[in-house]
Symmetry: C2
C-alpha cells in the first residue's frame, strides 16, 4: 500500500514527490521518531545524501510535507468558497470534496495530523497558522449561511470545528478495504455537513 | 502534563494504573516505536523489571491499555443505552459523555486511536471486536430513534460512524488550553449528535 502521487500536486520535482510518498509510508509504518533518513531514502530509491539535497533534516521533510498538505487544502477550500453559489451548496461541495481527499490521501493526511507534535515549535506555529486559515474559510461559509438564513447555528466556532472533525477523522478510519468509495464518502459527508449546520439535506 | 488516573477506572493495581499513565505519556511524546520499556519504567518510578512483572512486552502494555480503554467505553455506552429514556435523550447523553471523556482523557484516547497499528494482528483483531461492539451500541440507539420516528437517517451505519468521528476527533484537537471546558464540550456534542441524526436539538 503506497501513497498516491496526487498527494502533493503542487510540488514540481518528481524526486521531492517521491520523497514525500516515501516519508508518508515510513512515518505511517514506524512513526516519526523511529524512522531514519535512511529508511525514507531507501523507500524512495535514493541514498541518504539524496534526501539532504532537498531537505535539511527528517523534521524538515515532515514540515514541508505538512505545509504543502495544508496549503493545498486551504487553497482548494478557498476556491470552493469563492464560487458564487448559495451557502448550502458551497458548504456541501466543500466538505464533501475535503472528506473525499481525506479518504484518497489517508496516509498523507494521517502523517500531517498525527505527527504534528514532532515539528519544531517554529514549524508548529507556521502549520497552526495554516490550520487557522482553513478554519476561517469553513467558518466564513457557515457565517454566510447564518446571515442568509440558510443555516441555523448558535456557535459558529463549534460548528466549524465539528465539520472539520468529521472530515479529518475519515483519514483515521478509511482504508482501501472499506465498503464506501471515496465518491460515496463525498456524497455522504456533503449531506452530513448540511445537517450539522441545521440546513435541509435536500435543498432546492 | 500527565494523564489523569480515571483513565483506567477498572484496573485494580495502582502500579498497573501508574504504568498505563506512564505508557500513555511516553507513547504520546515519542511514539510507540521509539519508546523503550525503560522509558516507561522510569516515568512510572520503576525498574524495567518492574514493568515485566505486569506486562510481557511493550506491545502487551499497549494492548492492555487499548483493551481496557475500549472496554470501559463500551460498558459506559451500553449502560447509557440501557437507561429507559427516549432515543433522543439517550443519544444526547451518550455522545455528550463520550465527547467529554475524550477531552478529559485525550492523552490515553490518542494512544488508543493512533498507535493501534502497532498492535500485533491478533490484538488488533480483539480491539476491532470491541470497536464493533461500540459501533453497534451507537447504531442500536440510532436505529431505535429511526423506528420511533424521532430521528431521520437514511444510512444508519454512516450516521453512527459520523457520530463516533465527532467524538474521537475531540482527542486530537483538545488540549487543556482550549476555551471550552469538558462540561461545555459535553453539552455541545450532545446537541450536535441530535442534529446529525435529524432530531431537533431542543426536543420536548
Amino acid at each position: 500500500m503506497t501513497s498516491t502521487s496526487s498527494a502533493t500536486p503542487s510540488s514540481e520535482s518528481p524526486t521531492v514527490s517521491r520523497l514525500y510518498e516515501a516519508a508518508a509510508d515510513a512515518f505511517g509504518a514506524k512513526g516519526f521518531h523511529a524512522t531514519t533518513t535512511r529508511d525514507i531514502a531507501s523507500r524512495a530509491g535514493l541514498s541518504p545524501a539524496g534526501v539532504y539535497v532537498h531537505f535539511a533534516s527528517k523534521e524538515d521533510l515532515l514540515y514541508q510535507l505538512s505545509r504543502e498538505g495544508h496549503t493545498v487544502a486551504r487553497d482548494a477550500l478557498a476556491r470552493a468558497a469563492a464560487r458564487s453559489s448559495a451557502p448550502a451548496e458551497t458548504l456541501r461541495s466543500m466538505i464533501g470534496a475535503f472528506a473525499r481527499w481525506h479518504a484518497e490521501q489517508h496516509q498523507v493526511a494521517r502523517i500531517v495530523q498525527y505527527e504534528f507534535r514532532h515539528l519544531s515549535p517554529e514549524h508548529q506555529h507556521e502549520v497552526l497558522t495554516l490550520r487557522r486559515e482553513i478554519d476561517a474559510v469553513v467558518r466564513g461559509v457557515v457565517d454566510e449561511g447564518v446571515a442568509s438564513g440558510d443555516f441555523e447555528v448558535e456557535d459558529t466556532h463549534a460548528a466549524a470545528l465539528a465539520l472539520l472533525s468529521l472530515v479529518v477523522d475519515v483519514a483515521r478510519w478509511y482504508h482501501p478495504g472499506v465498503q464506501q468509495t471515496p465518491e460515496q464518502i463525498e456524497q455522504t459527508y456533503g449531506a452530513l455537513a448540511l445537517r450539522l449546520v441545521g440546513a435541509s439535506p435536500h435543498p432546492g
